[in-house]
């Protein structure tokens, strides 16, 4: 039995302890904003915040997160999250949209750590998130816009 917090609510899981957090979130908690893309931490579509830092939930066994706080796209909130979502909408960043939850979770975590990121900071924080529609040009612009909006 594993106990953890999901978007502020205490949850327990008593299935196979090898089950990745991704599938606990999706199949058991039925929160589907977090996506499966590769299963091997190569694409970032499954990015969540685990105790405040971005984590690929597809390679995080549920047995390793006892007592941790998990935040998904459905629960992410605060100044950075609001700024990122507003910037994303303002530039119409998504195309197919499937990777965008992961992109947004990585972008929010970046701004929480680095409020005014450079292009190099963005590359460093976002290179783990693949977008096959290649919306990168707008992702970069949206992160800068979000950072600028937080200054005011």
């Amino acid at each position: 039995m594993v106990t953890f917090t999901l978007n502020g609510q205490e949850r327990t899981f008593d299935g196979d302890p090898d089950t990745p957090l991704l599938w606990v979130i999706r199949d058991f908690e039925k929160l589907t904003g977090t996506k499966y893309g590769c299963g091997v931490a190569q694409c970032g579509a499954c990015t969540v915040h685990l105790d405040g830092t971005p984590r690929r939930s597809c390679v995080t066994p549920i047995s390793t997160i006892e007592g941790s706080e998990v935040v998904t796209i459905e629960g992410v909130s605060g100044t950075e999250a609001d700024a990122v979502k507003t910037a994303w909408t303002g530039l119409d960043v998504p195309q197919c949209g499937y990777c965008q939850s992961g992109q947004i979770m990585s972008a929010v975590a970046l701004l929480q750590m680095v409020p005014k990121p450079t292009d190099a900071d963005i590359d460093g924080a976002m290179a783990g998130n693949i977008c096959r529609c290649a919306t990168y040009h707008r992702i970069r612009a949206a992160i800068h816009n979000a950072a600028n909006s937080m200054e005011g």
């Binding site: 996506k35 893309g37 096959r132």
Partner: protein, 717 residues
Amino acid sequence: MTIQDVNTTRRGFLAGSGLVIGVAIAPKMLSAAPTGVHAGGDPALAPMNAFVKIGTDDTVTVLAKHIEFGQGPFTGLATLVAEELDADWSQMRAVHSPTDNKVYANLMFGLQGTGGSSSIANSYEQMRKAGATARAMLVAAAAEDWKVPASEITVEKGRIKHAGSGKESGFGAFAEKAARQTPPAEPKLKDPKDFVLIGTELPKLDTHGKTNGTAIFTLDITPDNLLIAVVAHPEHFGATVKSFNDAEARQVQGVIDVKQVPSGIAVYADNTFAALKGRDALSIEWDLSKAETRSSEDLSADYRKLFGEKGLEAANNGNVDDAFKGSGLQTVEAEIVFPFLAHAPMEPLDAVFIKADDGSVDIYNGAQFPGMDQSVAAKILGLDETKVRVNTQLAGGSFGRKAQFGSPYIQEAAAVYAATDRSRPLKHMWTREDDIRGGYYRPMYAHRMRGAINAQGQITAWEQVIVGQSIMGKADLDETSVEGASNLPYTIPNLKVSAHNVQLSIPPLWWRSVGHTHTGFAVETFVDELFQKIGKDPVEGRLALLGEKPRHAGVLKKAAEMANWGSPLPEGRARGVAVVESFGTFVGQIVEVSVGPEGAPRVHKVWCAVDCGVAVNPNVIKAQMEGGIGYGLGAVLFDAVTLAKGGKIVQSNFHDYRSIRINEMPDVAVEIIKSSEKPSGVGEPGVPPVGPAVANAWRRLTGAPVRQLPIVNIVSA
């Protein structure tokens, strides 16, 4: 079917583009709501096949006959309707239409389908007529209610007004009454000079749900009691199951059943992880007697052997054979080999099957050819087609992957479902490994190019031989193998293009921009090489040979202007040019390149000019150019699916089938040529020019022509 055949009678109207009144747009609610519009419940909705619905709450919902997977049809089709309806953009909504090969036919295909960058091109008049018809009926209803002449009523931004009486209303109040009006026989469309929405930067309708996790894709449909299924596939194309042992798989907690299906061994489980763990625990012996056992290298050698043999004629102007014999000629030759490419959309293939109480079945999937999916699934499920409903869902990309004759993926999914007792809903999904190794690739191709230059420095002859699989499965010439080459835009007096169809057990498929993925590269790099040979500037050289192609010339000139072509460059950088027409859209690109950290090209900037006729949504057009450039660039730099010695597929996931990442994405500037030509598509045409433009810059920078893709392989070799 012509556009006029649709919607001119009342029956046709109700079946085609009518106001369906007071309809709650909310889709059938499962534990996660799919966006399917097969809602049931309200008999007045049957057969639910209209293009426009007006709710009593003033919302206008467009039923999009084309799937939304990022290329923008929800926004595009809604723009066309809203323009003629004089709606306010904020009241517009879009959902997928139901499946119907007649009512919702792609007017270019004759059946329902999305592909060939045709959504706006084939919908331009049809959706505007749907909007104009709805407007006329709303006006008629208001005129009747207000007892004023319809001719005195105006509509603007979703408000119906009569100046004389001061009366004013939204759409919702008249929706019901409007549905009872006789639709106009021939709705009047606006003069394009009066457009207020078409041509403006409207926000996309599907952005909101894609920024907060609420957008529902097929993989997100999770009804209660759901069974998850995955299939173990062979590692060789053409292999079949000889025997298997499922004892260990059945021991996995959560695994419910294991069954052999035509494509492999299916594992059924209560949750996804159990299904995957169960699949890993299978031991399977494969029969390779009919499998493809040649390697990519073997295939390349076999393809090249065909260069000298007589092929299928695709173009033959002038006399190429004689033209290569003249004296004082310089000849240039090049052979270029293109690898297999997987589409690798972010959402791997998946489908959900749910049986209704009457035994009929709802399928939820990202359907690119929904009517085809319906037909093949019905056959496998042993049901009449009317008992199978395909509910098209948002899809996490496709790039061509889901547009398949005979819907082989749905065949597999239906077979997996048919092997159960159907008492539980079932989700069949592919993993990334299934996706990369699953075939239906952009085929491998080999091109041989020959060019002749006379003493005056003119290109006098051009010969191109193209070897590869026919995507259409043809024995004779497949236009999709030679498009962009057989209709070479450059005026060259002697031109010969031929093709050889190769048979393999590796299933081929179109991949974003189809034949232009390789012909665009071959043509644009070779012509550039010829210009270099004769000392001509690549922009000037092209323009001189594009005298009969003003739209090619137009985008090339615009791109050159944007890039300030000819201005001095930073040390260690070079620029490359390419211009390609595909799907009726013209795209010119200029790229700036240096040698990057891996010794491979680092692309800093792309200037892109596009002429797609009337620009319906500049925002979507720019997004598709940006995305097309990234998608094309990633493939040219990094991507290949290769077969090892013995025929096993080498790649399996994003670590070895690399996708372009944000740190590799260039800055992109896009400009749209103002045009009054009929609109053409933008989903694919951004892709073809970037590869050859990069290769041209690379050759000018390093002296090394790119003869084999991906580029990263040659620089690291």
